[in-house]
């Protein structure tokens, strides 16, 4: 784990970590969205990725998911280049904005994603996710018929319906009601217990508190990497920049 100054490296490097990023950078016409970013996330580890708007959180997640190409450095998913067949099989991405096929129902989306990733016993898994996330009765609904919260729930179900070793979630609690948040926390705990590496981009103190580790980004640079310590975080961020810190 790299970093200096205020950065507290509390979790040692995982050479065989499911998610590794070294000197990862991305620039847009000279603007540094992410610069020389280092991060290893081990199996069964939940990392809260925090930082003010525009800090580079989503850029990092998109780079790890293979949706963006880095301009420097590298990131690996279970040792594979993002976007490769192997990496796509191991990584599940829950984006901040749900996207659906306009002519497929929620259930059909789940069936399709489960089949694309060769999920075992998909029907039982789909039924379980629909039930736990409160999507009962909405299985045949199209994406355009869902409210913001229901869209988010469907998106969460799509991320969890398939097998993976790494889960990247961008603001996953946005739009969820309190019971659904509790359900998601429980699901993240189960996923973690099953050995997945999880990175959750968030502004929420409850997610930060539930995380094993907190990684803070500011202006595209690593600002903190360590235990979710409110004291330390409050020294790095203004109250206005980070909710509840």
């Amino acid at each position: 784990m790299s970093g200096g100054g205020a950065i507290a490296a509390t979790s040692g490097g995982h050479s065989d970590a499911p998610l590794t990023a070294h000197a990862l950078g991305r620039t847009y016409d000279g603007y540094v969205a992410l610069g020389a970013f280092d991060l290893d996330v081990g199996a069964g580890e939940l990392v809260a990725l925090i930082g003010p708007n525009g800090a580079g959180k989503t850029t990092f997640l998109n780079l790890a998911a293979g949706l963006l190409d880095p301009t420097s450095g590298e990131v690996r998913i279970a040792g594979h280049v993002p976007g490769s067949l192997e990496a796509r099989a191991e990584l599940s991405y829950l984006p901040d904005s749900p996207v659906f096929y306009e002519d497929l129902s929620v259930a059909e989306h789940l069936e399709y994603v489960a089949a694309l990733h060769g999920a075992e016993d998909p029907e039982a898994r789909i039924d379980e996710l629909i039930s736990r996330l409160g999507l009962d009765g909405w299985e045949d609904a199209l994406g355009s018929e869902l409210s913001k919260g229901m869209k988010q729930k469907a998106s969460i179900a799509l991320a969890l319906v398939r097998p993976f070793k790494v889960l990247l979630a961008d603001e996953p609690l946005d739009g969820l009601d309190p019971p659904s948040r509790d359900t998601l926390f429980a699901m993240l705990a189960e996923t973690k217990a099953a050995g997945a590496a999880i990175v959750v981009s968030t502004h929420r103190p409850d997610v930060i508190a539930a995380a094993d580790r907190c990684v803070a980004i500011r202006d595209g640079r690593l600002a903190y990497d360590g235990k979710p310590d409110p004291k330390v975080l409050s020294e790095i961020f203004d109250r206005s920049e980070l909710e509840g810190v």
Binding site: L85, R88, Y93, Y101, E102, E108, Y112, E139, D140
Partner: protein
């Protein structure tokens, strides 16, 4: 579990991810067909076919084309392949640049998010979309080529079958090679500079062919194919080589399609979805704005020349002086192409005159941008202490001046390309002013059209959307056709072209009147 249609079960029963993808796509296609109003589609096809047959029959009767003289035939045999090659190379350049920005495929955002992030070969996942685009483009190109061939054979040596066949093949191969080049650029993730350089090399190569009388460039070889009934010996073989090279480019593009950058695909998916919606409601203005975003075509931060002042006239020039290089080049190319097509109309078939107006209309849409922005922001416009119709009229002056320059450029290009520069400059000289006003008015009508004004009357909405393009087509066609049709000396032809100014002036007056009525009406409604 969903019971809708037949996708459930078949997808989950698929033995592997690729089979699941195919099962889902197949289910979606079935669903689309089930939901489509087949009778409505058939009715539209029927109407389109009847209209096309009527136009073709009318043109075939009206043209009375006479065989070209031997010197024209010889000139076309030697020069046309390279000229056509330059035109094809320009389109290939556009394809390469589109590919470097992630085109030409337009994939759904969900397809990027789910299918392209799944452990499925991206080449396999993307190939159907590419083949679908290829089918549509090659079929349209082949039909257009065959229609042109149907008129060309009446004037030149060679049978109808030879001309229709060679021009249909040419018409099919041009979109194939453009699509292939775009796919190569996107699959190999070429930088925009490299893609542009490759296209410019092709243009320069065909220009060199034209200057030296060679047939060495791959796009010149496609020009040999377009004029195959006139070619013999080595040129005929070069036409075959050109076709083979075009297919090779297409094959290379299809093989490398999996290299598409998802970043570009995502961005494109969003914009293309919006463009399709805008096109479905005939909102041409939004389509243009989205296309500019798709092409990353932004105004220059620093103008070419800085002018100060607050008049509308200056504001319009400030807009033109911030045009990016690509827009300047596009308008110049449109002028050259319009001139070249006009020459082609005189030398090959006057059917080509029908392309001149719509092509110049595209340039006019760029020129009308300042007025279009006033229309985009009605509140700002209403706050100005001037009547809307007066504001509109003042905004038309600068675009009309630039459009006139573009038309003179087209005339100069026609003079340089054709064998009768005097006639080209003469026709340009007698029609450029009224034609510029008509084209600018047509573009203004299109850019300020409210697509929802006739939302309850779709037929009326279609008429209002299509009218400016049809007017541009007629305005471009009539003077050229009159000059072509007139028998006798160049002065007779110029007189015939001059006589059509009357029609253009009527068009311009109607356009100005409708625009004034539209702006006044909106102003009244806002009060």
């Amino acid at each position: 579990m969903s019971g809708a249609d037949q996708s459930a079960g078949t997808v989950l029963a698929a033995p592997d991810p690729v089979a699941a993808m195919k099962a889902m796509r197949s289910a979606r296609r079935r669903r689309y067909v089930q939901r489509a109003d087949v009778m409505e589609v058939l009715y539209r096809v029927y109407l389109g076919a009847i209209a096309a047959l009527f136009v073709l029959a009318f043109l075939a009767g009206a043209l009375h084309e006479v065989p070209a003289d031997p010197s024209s035939v010889a000139g076309i045999r030697t020069d046309a392949p390279a000229i056509i090659g330059i035109a094809v190379a320009v389109i290939v350049l556009a394809g390469l640049r589109a590919g470097a920005r992630g085109g030409p495929l337009a994939i759904e955002a969900a397809e990027v998010r789910y299918t392209l992030l799944a452990p499925v070969s991206r080449r396999t996942a993307l190939r159907p979309a590419a083949l679908s685009q290829l089918r549509t483009a090659t079929l349209s190109g082949a039909i257009f080529g065959a229609v042109v061939g149907n008129f060309v054979f009446r004037r030149f040596p060679g049978s109808a079958v030879e001309w229709i066949g060679s021009l249909a093949a040419f018409g099919a191969l041009v979109p194939a090679v453009v699509l292939g080049a775009a796919l190569v650029a996107s699959g190999r993730r070429l930088r925009i500079g490299v893609a542009s350089a490759a296209g410019l090399v092709l243009i320069a190569w065909s220009a060199l062919d034209l200057a030296l009388g060679w047939n060495s460039s791959p796009t010149t070889m496609l020009g040999d194919l377009a004029t195959l009934p006139l070619q013999h010996g080595a040129s005929a073989w070069l036409a075959a080589l050109g076709a083979a090279l075009a297919l090779a480019v297409l094959a290379a593009g299809l093989l490398g399609i999996g290299g598409l950058a998802l970043e570009a695909a995502q961005r494109r998916a969003q914009l293309v979805a919006e463009m399709r919606f805008s096109a479905s409601v005939q909102d041409l203005r939004t389509v243009i704005l989205l296309r500019r975003q798709l092409a990353s075509e932004r105004p220059r931060r620093k103008p070419w020349i800085r002018i100060r002042g607050g008049s509308i006239w200056r504001r319009d020039w400030q807009s033109f002086l911030r045009w990016p290089v690509v827009r300047v080049v596009r308008v110049v190319l449109i002028a050259v192409a319009a001139g070249g097509i006009a020459v082609g109309g005189f030398d090959l078939t006057p059917v080509l005159f029908a392309l001149v107006g719509p092509l110049l209309f595209i340039a006019a849409l760029d020129l009308i941008e300042p007025l279009a922005q006033e229309s985009d922001h009605p509140t700002r416009r209403l706050l100005l202490p001037r009547p809307g119709s007066e504001l509109m009229r003042t905004h038309l002056t600068a675009p009309a001046v630039v459009m006139a320059v573009v038309l003179l450029g087209a005339a100069v290009a026609a003079a340089a390309i054709g064998e009768n520069p005097g006639l080209a400059l003469g026709v340009g000289g007698v029609v450029f002013l009224p034609l510029a006003v008509v084209l600018v008015c047509a573009a203004a009508l299109s850019a300020t059209n409210d697509p929802y004004e006739f939302v309850l009357n779709p037929q009326m909405a279609n008429v209002v959307s299509l009218a400016p393009i049809v007017v541009a087509l007629i305005a471009g066609f009539v003077p050229l056709f009159a000059a072509w049709k007139a028998e006798g000396s160049d002065s007779t032809r110029l007189g015939a072209a001059l006589s059509t100014d009357f029609i253009l002036i009527i068009f311009a007056m109607i356009g100005l009147g409708v625009l004034a009525w539209r702006f006044n009406k909106r102003e009244r409604e806002a009060m």
